[in-house]
């Protein structure tokens, strides 16, 4: 169906008929994800083929969608989650900047204070197995970002992500997690308390479908981790890579940041270690930075450009 058909329908139909029902959209989104062969790419293709569509326009069986929604709510309740929020493309509060992603998400789950995404957000990411120096750098960066009133966004993984979140908290700042697991699930398990704290006092965001995730093996669920990096980049104005190897999933976010027109900062310490990626991304438009002062300068000039 073309955009025209959808907008004509929208103009002529009753406003109540065309309103978004969050329960129905949750069910339709989860039901689409439950279909065989579904992936982030395939789902985005479906929405590209149906401009203007809601999940329930594509998965039109309302009864099945509502059954799926009930199943998902029961699954979440079992994990102790009674309250969460949704962001649905075309409903209010869905962040437009998510559309900069190559395969933008149509629906997000969240816990906590959604408005934090409207604060100045910078992602701090890197390897799950950093050096001691890498850990220290992540912490210092997070503290400096907090001092400047910025919100530290990361992925709640081991290593750099955990350092970034905890240092931001210790500095009395704000921090957001974009997870590669559904709300209610946690990886790694030792970050459960951290995730709970973020969900309670800050913000945890997940695009991962609850039902599909529970149905498939970790081997397939691993694929959600790089996808959340793309979303994290889209949600933030800049990504800082603290430390990463040539095969690190972090580089997914590096690529996404550049594709989405976001700033990508690579710490000086990533260079000269026999790694190929730092030079490669430098050529593509990343900014090599010695310390936080360089980042602050670049972010400030960005903000000025936005205001003019």
């Amino acid at each position: 169906m073309t955009e025209d058909l959808f907008s004509q329908a929208a103009a002529s139909a009753d406003f109540a008929e065309r309103a978004v029902s969050p329960m129905r959209e949750l069910g339709a989104y989860e039901a689409l994800w439950a279909e065989q062969g579904m992936s982030v790419k395939r789902l985005a293709e479906l929405f590209r083929e149906n401009p203007g569509a809601l999940p329930s326009d594509i998965f039109a069986d309302n009864t099945k969608a509502l059954t799926m929604a009930s199943t998902v709510l029961a699954m979440l309740r079992e994990k102790g989650i009674c309250r969460f929020g949704l962001r649905i493309h075309r409903a209010g509060e869905y962040p437009r900047r998510l559309r900069d992603a190559k395969n933008p998400v149509e629906l997000l789950y969240f816990q906590g204070e959604w408005e934090l995404v409207e604060t100045p957000c910078v992602a701090v990411v890197g390897t799950r197995d950093p050096s001691d120096e890498g850990r220290r750098r992540a912490r210092r960066l997070a503290q400096s970002l907090v001092k400047d009133g910025r919100t530290v966004v990361s992925g709640l993984a081991q290593g750099i992500d955990t350092e970034a979140h905890t240092a931001a908290l210790e500095a009395g700042g704000r921090t957001i997690a974009v997870t590669g697991t559904p709300i209610g699930d946690c990886y790694p398990p030792e970050n459960r308390a951290l995730q709970n704290r973020l969900a309670r006092d800050f913000l945890v965001i997940s695009q991962v479908p609850v039902y599909r995730y529970a149905q498939q093996t970790p081997q397939y669920n691993r694929l959600f981790f790089p996808e959340r990096n793309v979303t994290m980049s889209a949600l933030t104005s800049a990504t800082i890579i603290v430390e990463a190897g040539d095969t690190s999933g972090t580089l997914i976010q590096a690529r996404a940041a550049l594709e989405q027109g976001r700033k990508l900062f690579v710490l000086d310490s990533c260079f000269g270690r026999g790694l190929k990626w730092p030079e490669k991304y430098l050529e593509r438009g990343a900014v090599r930075v010695r310390d936080y002062e360089d980042i602050r300068g670049a972010l400030a000039s960005d903000a000025e450009a936005d205001e003019s």
Partner: protein, 221 residues
Amino acid sequence: MTLKLTKVDDLIRHEHAWVGPEDKCFFLREYTARAGYAHGETNDIISNLKKKMDRRGKPEWRWKEWAIDRVGRELRGVIGDKAMRTVTIVPMPPSKCKTDPEYDDRVLQIARIMTAGLSCDVRELVLQRESMPAAHECEEGQRPKPADYFANFYVDEDVATPVPTRILVVDDVLTAGAHFAGIKRRLLERFPEVILFGCFFARRVLPKAEDDFRGFVPDQN
């Protein structure tokens, strides 16, 4: 991109104690009610919208006017001109009577902006007998209940004809839904056949489960 209204359905109704499964309530935006501080555009619009009348004439007053205009335009955009002509638009009465110095007709102004230049049926169909304290300024447990609003609301017979068939009650913020429940009861009592809708610019989301039904509004600047 055309935005859509969101329905208060089974997923979120529990956050609005007085909204029932039979109610047809819709909203455009959401904000998290926080005591002390607030982020985000929706919070910003609402705190400007709720600026008290004693700020009139001060430089900040233009922000209230800006917010009223913004809300009116956004609601018009999501409802659509065509749909607007199919309903009688009824602004939710403010907490204070017209004679009260704190009388704030912002919702009426929003309804006028929603319908500017359209031949729409906008009626102040429901008025109130006495000023009531603004719900968000009441102590916990002291907030008026639907029955209190019902008792205080009356239908203005001067504008009661022609009999409306579909009424869209417009309000700025949906908290517990007590105002809506009160006006609904009054309108259905007078017009038993009417189909009633509620349309809110934003609904408030409580930050934590234990805060259910307390209903903060953003800080007044």
